[in-house]
Assembly symmetry: C2
Homo-oligomer: 322 residues x 2
């Protein structure tokens, strides 16, 4: 059965719910494209879903996140879950095949009907991934995935924003990765619900665990008052510790649900998304305005020094804002 056309978002959603991976892919392409298509899909999937548990996986490049995510998928699949994976790369202008081509570790799962894998990269449009990623998560949720894994390539600002916007955020570090102070600096202590020291068979594991525990002692409890992020050990290449990691992730979900924090987080994320959408819309209009005749005239007045920049800015702002 061929998938419905891209123009029919509602039919795509129904097909995606029925397990049609091509339909899910088309919905995500619409979301990535931005503009009216993205809005149509966004409106459709808003309110649908709410069932999926979203797990962000972040950490330094080379920490073994991709291998770990592939292992997580394996464990979740054995438990019968339908799993979606979004690999987010804010530094790459490419999406789809580019990152995915490298993801040989995911090969086992690519042919699995109940695993959907997608890479998202920055398309350079305003708001970019920070706007598209939550919408993509919502698509995977609305199409019936039980678990959505959000993997980011590094620990930049956008990646922290994206990964931190999950129900549960897993931060992956390695032995020798640093003294925990680095983690605090990068702003990842605040977003971590679960720490994983991957490559735990390497020298320096005990030190890495001690460092993290020390930082956690200093910084107090995590985002959810009663939860102290556990520090787990994995060797993603062999799969050691991965079942325990899934256990910790599920413990965190249970705690989120019982405490009411899950709903609070989801509401906070929706409120954030509203701010981002408004900011992106306003920025787009300002960018448009910079290409207009009024802006050119104002710039000419400022650069030939007949008008000061403040006066010129006030004029342009008055033309833009109510």
């Amino acid at each position: 059965v061929p998938s419905p056309p891209a123009s029919d978002a509602a039919a795509l959603l129904a097909a995606g719910r029925g397990g049609d991976k091509a339909a899910v892919a088309r919905l995500l392409s619409l979301v990535e494209r931005g503009g009216d298509d993205a809005r149509a899909v966004g409106r459709l999937v808003h309110g649908a879903g709410g069932h999926a548990h979203t797990v962000g996986v972040t950490g330094s490049p080379g920490a073994g996140k991709s291998t770990l995510v592939a292992r997580l998928v394996g464990t979740l699949r054995r438990a019968g879950e339908r799993v979606g994976v979004l690999a987010i790369d804010p530094t790459s202008p490419f999406s789809g095949g580019a990152i995915l081509g490298d993801r040989v570790r995911m090969d086992d799962h690519v042919l699995d009907d109940r695993v959907f894998i997608r890479s998202m990269a920055s398309r350079g449009h305003l708001g970019g991934l920070a706007v598209a990623a939550p919408a993509a998560v919502r698509v995977l949720d609305a199409t019936g995935h039980d678990r959505v894994l959000l993997e980011t390539v590094g620990v930049g600002q956008v990646e922290i924003e994206v990964a931190g916007a999950a129900d549960t955020t897993v931060v992956v570090v390695t032995p020798g990765w640093g003294d925990g102070v680095q983690a605090a600096k990068a702003g990842i202590i605040e977003i971590a619900d679960v720490f994983v020291v991957n490559k735990a068979d390497r020298a320096g594991f005990d030190q890495a665990r001690r460092d993290l525990d020390q930082v956690l002692d200093l910084t107090g409890p995590g985002r959810d008052g009663g939860w102290r992020p556990p520090v787990l050990a994995t060797v993603a290449t062999t799969g050691a510790g991965v079942d325990e990691l899934v256990g910790a992730i599920d413990d965190h979900r249970a705690q989120l649900t019982v405490s009411g924090e899950l709903e609070r987080r989801r509401q906070a994320r929706l409120a954030d998304e509203l701010v981002r959408l408004v900011a992106a819309g306003v920025d787009a209009r300002v960018l448009d305005a910079t290409r207009g005749a009024a802006w050119a005239a104002a710039t000419a007045g400022v650069t030939d020094r007949t008008v000061d920049p403040w006066t010129a800015a006030d004029t342009l702002i008055a033309q833009l804002l109510r």
Copy 2:
């Protein structure tokens, strides 16, 4: 003679031109404060000046920038120039005394009537230093300083923006500082008009110079087509190489003037400033709106999932924009 009151910007400007350092300080305080006071001063000094040569000095913390700037001031003073120094720290919430207190190396110049030294830090308001720094430079220009040195504490985004907005930008590195690739990554190759390897008496100097030359070979000519940034050697603690640095800075100014690039850069900076002022003004209005009743209602609709974020965002944007 006491300085004019802060309310009389025109009198402060006249006093500052006459060499009254307290008057210059008051004008800069008005600029830092933002809002209507800053606008009044900005309008007054726009069009005045255009005489000062602005020199940005940036580079990693610990590269010896402050010592080097103090040495530059010494050389410029011996040549009879009136010199202004703005030390920019986007990471600090303090301004004025905070950084200045540490600047013991500047002690020789603090009592010099023809040297004005000021630290500017982020006050956390929108647009912040990126808006205030060019206005502060213009104040120093309009009050008759021949040379304005803009020193930044590190190589973050704001610092690159601020230092890169000088007529001539000096990037300070040290031996062992890295392989040039780091410079390219930090985005400082593009803004450098002159490179200085400070602490040139240390091991690794030749390597650092080679690395920079190699990166320059790869990246082609600098911002101004015909100018290849020279790589100079200094030992700021002894003053070695500082006269040559001033020579290179003056060579660059001469080249800028002859090629017409000086005026092009200044016009481009004014156009950039206009964009920043409009963006800051619009952002301030969006921030205001987030605190209003309409925003609260929209957020409530989104978080209880009766309205999707796109529809809510469109409503809020329509209320903000013309």
